[in-house]
Amino acid sequence: MLGDIRSGGLQKPMKMIPASDSSVLVVFGEAITPEMHRRVLNLFHALRSRRDRRIRNLHPGYVSLLVDFDPLALTHERIFALIEETSEAEPGANPGRTKLVDVPVHYGEEHGPDLADVAAHAQLAVEEVVRLHSSATYDVSFLGFTAGFAYLSGMPETLSMPRLATPRRSVVAGSVGIAGGQTGIYPTETPGGWRLIGRTPLRMFDSRRSAPTLVLPGDQVRFTSISRAEFERLWQECA
C-alpha cells in the first residue's frame, strides 16, 4: 500500500499514512510550531468547505489531520488525490475564520480548589498565578477528549504542574484546569485529573445550540478574572 506521498508546488512535504481502511492521517511534521498548526488548520478548513459527503469526519491534531471517509465511496488512492488537490488549491492563510473569545473566570475558592497548590508549586502568590493565567492569549489547537474540550496552547511555563495523582470522580462543567503545560476548560461534567484553578459561567458546550461549542480549532482564548458576584450574574444570564 502507498506509504507516503509528497505534495508538489511550494508547500513543504506532507505525509499521508493510511491509518485504517476508512481513514488517512495527514502528517505535516514532528514539532508543534505555529507554522505547523496553520497548515493543519488550512487543510481542515479547505476539506471542510468542500462539503463532500464521502468525507465523514475530520480530526485536527497538533501536527496532523485525520481524514475519515466512507470506504464504500472512496479508496485511499482517491482520497490521497483529493487531499493533494485541496492542499494545492488553497495554500494561503486562513482568511477571517478565526475569532478571539473572552472567557470570564472566577478564580479560587470552591471554583478553583487547586489554585493554592498551583501557586505553591510555582512559588508564586495566588494573585500572581491569576494575573499570569489571565494575561496570556491562548491558541485553540484542536478539540478532543470529550465533546467541546479545547486544547489550549500558550500558557506561561511557570504555571505548569503535573495532573493529580488520583483524578476527581467528578469535575463540574466550566472548571478551568492545568495539566502539565496545558490549560483547558471542562465543557461537561466528567471525571478529571486536571488541577482546578477556577470556573467560567459560560457554557462552553451545549448540544442544543446551532454552534454547539463556543470555540473552534484555530480560535484564540483570553481569560478575564471576575468576582463571585459577577460569576453568579453571568451564570444566570447564560442559562
Binding site: 481542515f44 475519515d68 470506504p71 464504500l72 478539540l143 470529550t146 465533546a147 486544547y151 454547539p212
Partner: protein, 314 residues
C-alpha cells in the same frame, strides 16, 4: 389505527439500553464521537425487517435486555445476540418481524451468544435530532433520550414516518455473520513504533476482553506489547476501531463512543467489515487478531455488502 400515536413504556431498562441510529458524523473536530450502533449489520437487518430505513433510530440493548410494554399496536423485529425474548408470555426469536398489540409486554433476558441485541420498531423511535442524529452520546450527555441510558418509566414515541415493505431474512444466510476466526486488522498509523518482535507478539497472542470495557473502548488483557519509540506521541486523531497501546502494554480497541483524539500509539486498526464483531464481544471473551492489507480490507467490505443484499427472501 389512523391518528393513534404508538408508544412504548420502559418497565425495566436492562443493563445499558440506548437509542441509536447510523451515528453522528461531521463533528469530530468539536470532539464529538460518531456513536451509532456497536453492531451496524444487526441494526440494519432489524430495521429492514420492519420496513424502515436501515439506520432508523432503534434500541441497542447490552448483555441484559429491557422489558417493554407496548401501549398500542406495532410491528417490531429483533436482531443481533439472542437474549431469550418473551412477547406476551410466548418465546420469540430474532430475525422475524413480530406484530404486537396494545398491552403486550416484551421481556428480553441476558444475551447468550453475543453482547448486543437490536430492537427496531416500524416507523422508528422518535427522539429529537441533535447535530443531525438520534444516537445517544452517553459521555457527552446528549442525543437519544436525554443523553442517557433508558430508565424505568421512560416512554418512547414511535414515528409514523412512511415505512417500506417489511423484508424477511433467509436465516441460513446469517451463519456467515458469526465468523469464529481472528478479527482482521490493518496496520495502524504508528505501527512502526513497535519492533517486529513486539508487533508479531500482538498478532500471535490471544487477548481477553476485560470487564472494564464499554462502547468507548474495549480493554484487552494478555501479553504486554512494548513500544520501541521513547518519544511522546503528539495527540492526534483516532480512527474508529484503532487499537492503541498505552504504557502498560495492554491494548485497547477504541470503539463507537471513543474519544476523537488521543496520545497513545496505534498499532493496528480493526477493518470495517469486522467492526460488527467487536460490537458483539462480551467481557471475558477471547480474541485473536490477523493482519490483512488495505486492499483485502476493502474487498472484505465489498463482499460483505454483496452478502447483505443476498440474505433477503424474494
Amino acid at each position: 389505527m389512523a391518528g393513534v400515536r404508538v408508544s412504548i413504556r420502559v418497565l425495566k431498562p436492562g443493563l445499558s439500553t440506548t437509542v441509536q441510529d447510523g451515528g453522528r458524523f461531521g463533528y469530530a473536530h468539536l470532539g464529538i464521537s460518531p456513536c451509532g450502533p456497536a453492531d451496524r449489520l444487526s441494526m440494519r437487518i432489524a430495521n429492514r425487517m420492519v420496513g424502515n430505513d436501515e439506520y432508523a433510530p432503534a434500541l441497542e440493548m447490552t448483555l441484559m435486555g429491557a422489558t417493554l410494554e407496548f401501549e398500542s399496536d406495532a410491528t417490531i423485529a429483533l436482531a443481533g445476540a439472542n437474549c431469550g425474548c418473551v412477547l406476551a408470555e410466548e418465546r420469540v426469536g430474532a430475525f422475524t418481524p413480530l406484530p404486537t398489540a396494545a398491552g403486550m409486554v416484551l421481556h428480553c433476558g441476558s444475551t447468550t451468544d453475543g453482547a448486543r441485541t437490536y430492537l427496531a420498531v416500524r416507523g422508528g423511535i422518535e427522539v429529537p435530532l441533535i447535530m443531525g442524529s438520534a444516537s445517544t452520546d452517553v459521555r457527552g450527555k446528549f442525543g437519544g433520550v436525554e443523553g442517557r441510558r433508558l430508565k424505568a418509566g421512560d416512554v418512547l414515541k414511535i414515528s409514523s414516518a412512511g415505512a417500506r415493505q417489511p423484508q424477511r431474512v433467509r436465516r441460513e444466510a446469517l451463519q456467515k455473520m458469526h465468523s469464529e476466526g481472528p478479527i482482521r486488522v490493518t496496520r495502524g498509523a504508528q505501527h512502526d513504533w513497535f519492533c517486529p518482535a513486539e508487533y508479531g507478539r500482538f498478532l500471535t497472542s490471544p487477548y481477553v476482553v476485560s470487564e472494564q470495557s464499554d462502547r468507548a473502548g474495549l480493554r484487552l488483557t494478555g501479553e504486554a506489547i512494548n513500544t520501541v519509540e521513547r518519544r511522546q506521541l503528539l495527540t492526534d486523531g483516532i480512527p474508529l476501531g484503532a487499537i492503541q497501546v498505552p504504557q502498560d502494554g495492554q491494548p485497547i480497541i477504541l470503539f463507537v463512543d471513543q474519544q476523537t483524539t488521543g496520545g497513545y500509539p496505534k498499532i493496528t486498526n480493526v477493518i470495517a467489515a469486522d467492526m460488527h464483531r467487536v460490537g458483539q464481544l462480551r467481557p471475558r471473551d477471547q480474541v485473536r487478531f490477523a493482519e490483512v492489507s488495505i486492499c483485502q480490507a476493502f474487498e472484505a467490505l465489498r463482499e460483505q455488502e454483496r452478502w447483505f443484499e443476498e440474505i433477503w427472501q424474494e
